[in-house]
Symmetry: C2
Subunit: 225 residues, 2 copies
DNA sequence: GATGACGAAATTGTTGACAATATCATTGGC
DNA sequence: GCCAATGATATTGTCAACAATTTCGTCATC
């Protein structure tokens, strides 16, 4: 009978939640590459315990997002241009094969949905809302991988993207990246609609490579090396 | 002047070393999927402290090798056949693109080395030494990725392989897997020697898919579902 | 003999204190 | 004013004790 209220004895957020929070901070460039993440700071801002925070650090380090040095703690790892380039090559391979698989297994309804997202993105270009464009762009790429049902690849691509997420969003604000992306998407969609897996794969690879090229030129413009 | 001997105050192996040890145990099927890894046990066998062992668990969990449940600790994660299938699709994409890149950038010397490894593997078939064959097979695939210089992909493929490493080695003992692999490698090498990147990519993908098919039939034979 | 309640043992989660190291400010010398 | 040595502070690494939970054996009951 003694019903204990239990009253949410929630001592603090679990480690995965803390890891998510840090990830989101990095994606939002609230934490920038090279920045040190001191334990006490994260504890204060998340309410987690030290062990939880340290656990989160370990996991993020295993994901390649943080770097942990002896007695110096965790810091946001910064990807060199060379590494970003290799990373995009991996993305091209993975998303390329997904585009081909999508073409084979997607229903007409799936394809229609994909087209609708692409159309929404076009309106964003006119409205100049890069923020919304970035969100829809994520949805577009995600949908292709989701429909193929390959969670392993979806997870891999998501991880590969995290380190350059902030650069991606910045890139949409610059030059003609958005219009170029629209063109690429249209080419991919055309191949999909024509039931041409190889064509879709090729177009998707080109799209990813274009993204890298744009990022490279953006890097040159920003840091001029 | 008081030179302190310092006498190796090594209290125990660092966390990464413990993680390596666990990884090797899993690869050698000394630890099998589903098996629980109790902290005290690992501490006794590695000499590491509890925090170190727990750190190692965290990292391995992030790599997808272990599963950690609240108050139940770590256990070796078992990949379903469905997941293995998705994993092989990812490998096909990544190793395929590497085969193409290898064809483009490899020197004649690189290609010659690759051929030599393949030839050594053929002698293994005759000698029936599956162990050595497995080792050389790893070398062969690794070399292609190493020459392309894409460490990101090499790392990804290595991680993707770990969960099925023991199955892989088992497969070489069975049926005609080795001779089939030799054929595949020859086809890939032919394309490479003919400076045909697309052909090399296609052949590599087929090779990986064949590996999956063999693993699937092996699974059916073992567990008959 | 099967089943469920109960309690002891085993195992993991959490916290705090202390040790080792790095980082920073201060001081003294040039 | 600049630079190196020095000490104080901040930060991380490590360990041990305690709390929470699961797991396993025991026993009573049907």
């Amino acid at each position: 009978m003694d019903e204990i209220a239990k009253a949410l004895p929630k001592s603090g957020p679990p480690a995965p939640e803390i890891a998510d929070w840090i990830r989101s901070q990095i994606r939002a460039s609230r934490f920038v590459p090279g920045q040190r993440l001191v334990e006490v700071d994260i504890i204060r801002r998340t309410g987690g315990s030290r062990s939880k925070v340290r656990e989160a650090f370990q996991r993020l380090a295993a994901e390649g997002l943080l770097e942990i040095e002896e007695f110096r703690g965790a810091s946001v790892r910064e990807a060199s241009l060379e590494e970003v380039s290799q990373l995009y090559r991996a993305r091209a391979a993975l998303e390329g094969i997904c585009a081909a698989d999508f073409t084979r297994v997607a229903t007409d309804d799936d394809k229609q949905q994909l087209r609708e997202i692409a159309e929404k993105m076009e309106t964003c270009v006119e409205a100049g809302s890069a923020e919304q464009f970035g969100k829809l762009n994520s949805d577009w790429h995600s949908m292709i991988m989701r429909v193929t049902g390959n969670h392993v690849i979806a997870e891999l691509v998501s991880r590969l993207n995290t380190p350059v997420h902030h650069l991606l969003f910045q890139s949409f604000y610059r030059g003609n990246r958005m219009t170029k992306a629209i063109e690429d998407h249209r080419a991919i969609l055309d191949a999909i609609m024509n039931d041409d897996p190889e064509g879709a794969e090729k177009a998707m690879r080109q799209h990813v490579e274009n993204g890298l090229e744009f990022l490279t030129s953006l890097d040159k413009a920003l840091f001029g090396n």
